[in-house]
């Protein structure tokens, strides 16, 4: 059944009818499967991948490495929760290696991101240190290449 997830992950706009045709299942089966995925939080949401650089909206993305002190009985989860609840935080991952959390922040300006780090993130009691890296250009995100648009340039040949 993961076939449906793979299809939706690639293009969330396919209708249940279209997915039914692609997978050779009935529309009911597909609807039911998707409903179940949603209920079980396997499908967590539907979003659109936007290349903001091409719009007039100013936007800046930063990746922040955070070292934290885990809390007794809660491990990293409690600290992570405090952090990911900020609306500026677009992604939050627990990492192996030299630091603990990777946070991806989106803000309108450099200043906005900087003030998030200095006012909200760094002062948290369990945060030991942060290292902020600003994204200069997004080439590819969520498996999708941003700049290159597919063009069918196959030449005509007799076969």
């Amino acid at each position: 059944m993961e076939e449906i997830l793979k299809i939706l992950e690639k293009n969330g706009r396919y209708s249940e009818e279209q997915i039914a045709v692609m997978t050779g299942k009935s529309v009911e089966e597909v609807k039911e499967a998707i409903k179940k995925y949603e209920e079980e939080n396997v499908i967590v949401g539907y979003t659109t991948l936007v290349n903001w650089e091409k719009t007039k909206d100013e936007s800046i993305t930063a990746m922040i490495e955070v070292k934290v002190t885990p809390q007794r009985g809660e491990g990293f989860d409690k600290v992570a929760e405090r952090i990911y609840k900020f609306s500026e935080v677009k992604a939050c991952y627990l990492m192996s290696g030299g630091f603990d959390l990777t946070i991806i922040i989106e803000g309108k300006t450099l200043k906005e991101v900087a003030s998030f780090v200095s006012d909200k993130l760094a002062p948290l009691e369990s945060v030991q240190s942060t290292a902020t890296h600003f994204v200069l250009k997004k080439y590819k995100d969520k498996g999708t290449i941003f700049e290159k648009k597919y063009k069918d340039d196959r030449e005509a040949i007799i076969i």
Binding site: E3, K6, I7, N11, Q18, V21, M22, T23, G24, Y150, D152, R154, E155, A156, I157, I158, I159
Partner: protein, 386 residues
Amino acid sequence: MNVEDIILKKVKDIPPSGIRKYFDMINEMKDVISLGVGEPDFTTPWNVSESGIYSLEKGHTHYSSNAGLIQLREEIANYQQRKYNLQYNPKDQILVTVGGSEGIDIALRALVEAGDEVIIPEPSFVAYQGCTRITGATPVSIKLRAEDQFKLTPDLLEKAITPKTKVVIIPYPNNPTGAIMNRDDLSRIVEILKDKDLIVLSDEIYAELTYQDNHVSIASFPEMKDKTLVINGFSKAFAMTGWRLGYACGHPALIQAMTKIHQYAIMCAPTTAQYAAMEALKNGDSSVREMVKEYNHRRRVLVDGFRELGLDCFEPLGAFYTFPCIKSTGLTSEEFCEKLLMEQRVLVVPGNAFGECGEGFVRACYASSMEQLIEAINRIKKFIQR
């Protein structure tokens, strides 16, 4: 001197391809969705391309041996064993060619001449006719039937065989119909072929692209092994059309004869492509699986689309073609294709380009993006319901 007069009649007599004129037309048009070209829209998996690039960086820019790099031939032997349970000795039973088409050409040149007959089940790939005619031999068409799902049936085969028959072409999974032959289908024709003195040329270039059961090679029937020449290659399976690399596997005597022609006409297949192909055979399985999965989705969308429009379309279980019947529109195949192209800017290929019995059908290839296929179906709908 008139150059025309010097050119051989048998070459002049080969009719121009029925596809050519549409290609000339689309060159003048904008925003055409082409379901006309029979090649993957995927680019070659990066690990494969990268191996080609690395071989250039290492300076592997020379000829290989005539038959192809021995390491590649060993990988081909492993692959044929692993996938189709066929054993070939890489030293004298495998020849690396410039695409599967070279294999077809030099096999026919090694086997037939004027007076001989080559049996060609049709509709099928246009090169069988062309290559046969160039040798001077006579192509004998078998008209496959839609009601048999375009499979080769024993009755049709039996009727076509004469004492002059030297080669029988078995083109499955099939271009243009998408038909396949499973083990049972093959065993019925093996009964007829096993005692005949002829060579079976089994064109298995689409073997990786099947959507129900895995491909079965006719060479895997022990009684057929020595008399079958398997043609295969990298173009369709690994999306490597532009690298031009294929291979032939068969009896040492036939491979040796073909190698003679190959060494004078070609010397050896492109070395860079051979290095890339080794990577494809060693580490390409997962890429192939992904592509097949994607083709399968598209296949269902196109078949379903045609059926929704009221066109009969049998379920193609191989290659990447659908072959819907367009007789209900009252148009001939060529009229359908020409009008569809002019009115809705979708290119499909008339079925009769692949043999007369393809009249009443068109070939639509689903090696295009899902978005393009969905848009193509929308346009064809407008065309049919106009």
